[in-house]
């Protein structure tokens, strides 16, 4: 039997609750109020048990009202593939999402190593290139994207450090 979305969600929450429950047992509990008080381990244990109970309830209710797979599949519409900026027949969503997350991770990694200006310049430029729709891609747009990234990041750095007196990572440039 193919599980529906809610049943999968219930399984996911249940797995997390079990992991949380096991981790709760490793809390170094110091019960300062032995006479009727609860320790720092009690609430996490309660949360884990409540989540398991709710997840079981969600699983049961979702499975009992599950429509036949055929009906569900009939209702679901598959998104039409489109030609992306690489010229391949790939739906825009997963590719763009993956690349956006990768670039964000790269940005977080280089934020203090390269510094705010350089990391931000690379991130902004790459993101603008990534998100520019194919019909607007041109050499002019490419130049504009990188020039805009440079001006924006430097202006932001100057505003935050000089005007607002906030510290941003200098990195290798300064």
């Amino acid at each position: 039997m193919k599980l529906n979305r809610d049943a999968k969600v219930a399984i996911g929450f249940m797995a997390f609750a079990i992991f949380y429950l096991i981790s709760s047992n490793q809390i170094d509990s110091k019960n300062m109020y032995a006479s009727g008080g609860v320790s720092s381990r009690t609430l996490p244990l309660i949360y884990a048990v409540v989540m398991i109970v709710l997840a079981i309830a969600l699983f049961i209710t979702s499975v009992t009202r599950q429509k036949s797979t055929a009906q569900v599949q009939a209702k679901e519409k598959k998104p039409a593939p489109m030609v992306n900026f690489l010229g391949r027949q790939v739906p825009r969503k997963p590719l763009f999402l993956g690349l956006s997350i990768f670039l964000f991770a790269f940005y977080a990694f280089t934020y203090t190593k390269l510094g705010f200006v350089l990391a931000g310049f690379i991130y902004l430029g790459c993101m603008i290139m990534l998100l520019t729709p194919p019909e607007r891609k041109s050499k002019k747009m490419l130049v504009f994207g990188w020039v805009f990234s440079c001006v924006f990041i430097v202006a932001l750095y100057l505003v935050f450090t000089k005007v607002l007196s906030m510290m941003l990572p200098r990195g290798i440039l300064f």
Binding site: I27, Y33, R41, L43, Y47, R92, Y111, M127, M166
Partner: protein
């Protein structure tokens, strides 16, 4: 109260920089509200770090101005593009777009702005007159009362968000679990840090809020197909688009819709996005000419815009008096308060009364600014609708990262931002509502502290809770809402199954 309010006006009007910050906030809020895909939440996330260096009054006035501007800005694209700039303006499209197609775009915009101003005023004045007495009343609350309120708020938000109360409750518990990370507030035990020193202080509220709301939203917009729409630039705004006779005829609609917006705004988890649709359908069902709705009549625009703007004042009430945010924007405002060393709740009026009344005054002035800016700069906003989202989206991320980094000056918070962004995206993808998670995270610590303190107090009296009528009332209400929502969900599911 009036003296304090006048003092608040004095603080705001006496400092031109505060007025400038508010004007800028309203302007930026309208821009973000009008751009489809970008919302007030993203705007507030961007501008939180800017308020670090401002005074309490200036920073919070600017943030509330953004909130007011953002709520009203959605009507621009709803009328001119037939795409609501924010979910709060969905119902504005129903009559706004047909009106624009008839060549009355200017009139529709004028009516929308007028209704926004009236709705905002009603919401803000209700907030001023309700908040102070309510805060005074909640001062009497002890740990059990606070525990009862927390349970009620969590049950309410879980019941009202999404189609399934179980997923709402799971999200709330999930959020509460994340609130346990770090040092225990009572006995300082280390919990769920997995040997990472950065986790000792737990996840920052702003990191979670900005990640779950703004970063996930930006990632979603980045991965979505760009919406292609033509901007209707052929319009002329002449006044508010209504004659005096029409205004008088619309007064019941204005008041009714604003009150609907106000009441819905007070409830945690649902705000302008629900208020505008409910107000529209109530106005339609009580109208003498329901068949005309959707063909381009002022009634629909007035209902939608007055309701969503009145919800701003409504959502501020639980935030200021109980520290419970009504929606995503007020959750970020809560972060703004905390950034400035203030904790919204019953004590706020006593400890920071002057700042609170300055915020009240600034919200009234921001409403006036919003009206002026909308009427005078409408053509400019229409030009901004053409700014491509592929330029704006990365800029938002960069600004959000600055906000996260400057919290503790460590890159760990940027990673946390990404983690919560992906988590928010994943939860949305599987239709698990984010609002209960956020509320669970915000209230989790208070929930634990109040419960544990209450149990300590009750050590000598096992039935202490039964002698606390307010706490009992909130717990009974929570049970009632849970049962009601469960029955309602079951009925809907049965209907869907039989269809």
């Amino acid at each position: 109260m009036m003296t304090m309010l006048l003092q608040g006006f004095g603080t705001v009007v006496g400092n031109p920089l505060i007025l400038l910050a508010m004007l800028g906030g309203v302007f930026i809020g309208i821009i973000f509200g009008s751009l489809p895909g970008l919302t007030t939440v993203a705007c507030l996330s961007m501008f939180l770090p800017v308020t670090y260096v401002m005074s309490h009054e200036m920073g919070l006035s600017m943030l509330t101005a953004i909130y007011i501007g953002g709520m009203s800005g959605g009507l621009v694209s709803a009328i001119l593009l037939n795409i609501p700039g924010t979910p709060s303006s969905i119902a504005t499209c129903f009559d706004g777009t047909p009106m624009a197609k008839k060549g009355q775009a200017g009139r529709a915009l004028g009516i929308g702005v007028f209704a926004s101003i009236v709705g905002n005023f009603i919401g803000v004045f209700a907030m001023i007159f309700i908040s102070a007495p309510l805060a005074f009343f909640t001062l009497k609350f002890g740990p059990w009362e606070n525990f009862g309120v927390t349970v009620f708020a969590l049950t309410l938000i879980a019941s009202l968000c999404g189609k399934n109360i179980l997923t709402g409750l799971l999200a709330a518990v999930f959020g509460m679990m994340f609130s346990t990370v770090g040092l225990d507030q009572i006995d300082s035990s280390t919990r769920f840090t997995f040997g990472m020193s950065e986790l000792t202080s737990g996840f920052g509220l702003l990191t979670v809020l900005v990640g779950m709301y703004a970063v996930s939203e930006v990632l979603r917009t980045a991965s979505a197909e760009p919406e292609k729409a033509t901007v209707n630039e052929d319009f002329k705004m002449k006044g508010i688009g209504l004659s005096m006779k029409e205004i008088i005829e619309q007064i019941p609609n204005l008041i009714r819709s604003s009150l609907i917006g106000l009441c819905i705004g007070i409830l945690p988890g649902i705000g302008g996005s629900t208020a505008n649709i409910i107000a529209y359908s109530v106005t339609k069902s009580s109208s003498k000419y329901p068949e005309k709705f959707g063909t381009g009549i002022p009634d629909g625009i007035i209902a939608s815009e007055s309701a969503n703007n009145a919800s701003v004042g409504g959502a501020m009430i639980p935030l200021l008096t109980l520290g419970i945010p009504g929606d995503g924007s007020t959750a970020l405002l809560l972060g703004g308060f905390m950034l400035h060393g203030m904790t919204p709740g019953p004590l706020l009026f006593q400890t920071n009364g002057s700042t609170v009344y300055a915020i009240f005054a600034s919200m009234i002035i921001s409403t006036v600014f919003m009206g002026l800016v909308m009427f005078l700069c409408m053509r400019w906003f229409v030009k901004i609708l053409k700014v491509p989202s592929f330029i704006l989206i990365p800029c938002i991320i960069v600004l959000c990262a600055i906000g996260a980094y400057t919290l503790n000056y460590r890159s760990f918070d940027i990673w946390a931002l990404l983690f919560f962004g992906i988590l928010g995206l994943a939860l949305s993808a599987v239709k698990v509502p984010i609002a209960p998670f956020i509320l669970g995270f915000i209230l989790g610590k208070d929930f634990e502290v109040n419960l544990r303190t209450g149990i300590q107090y009750a050590a000598s009296d096992r039935f202490m809770l039964l002698h606390r009528p307010i706490a009992m009332a909130f717990l009974v209400l929570a049970i009632f809402f849970f049962i009601y929502s469960f029955i309602k969900t079951s009925k809907v599911n049965k209907k869907e199954a039989s269809a």
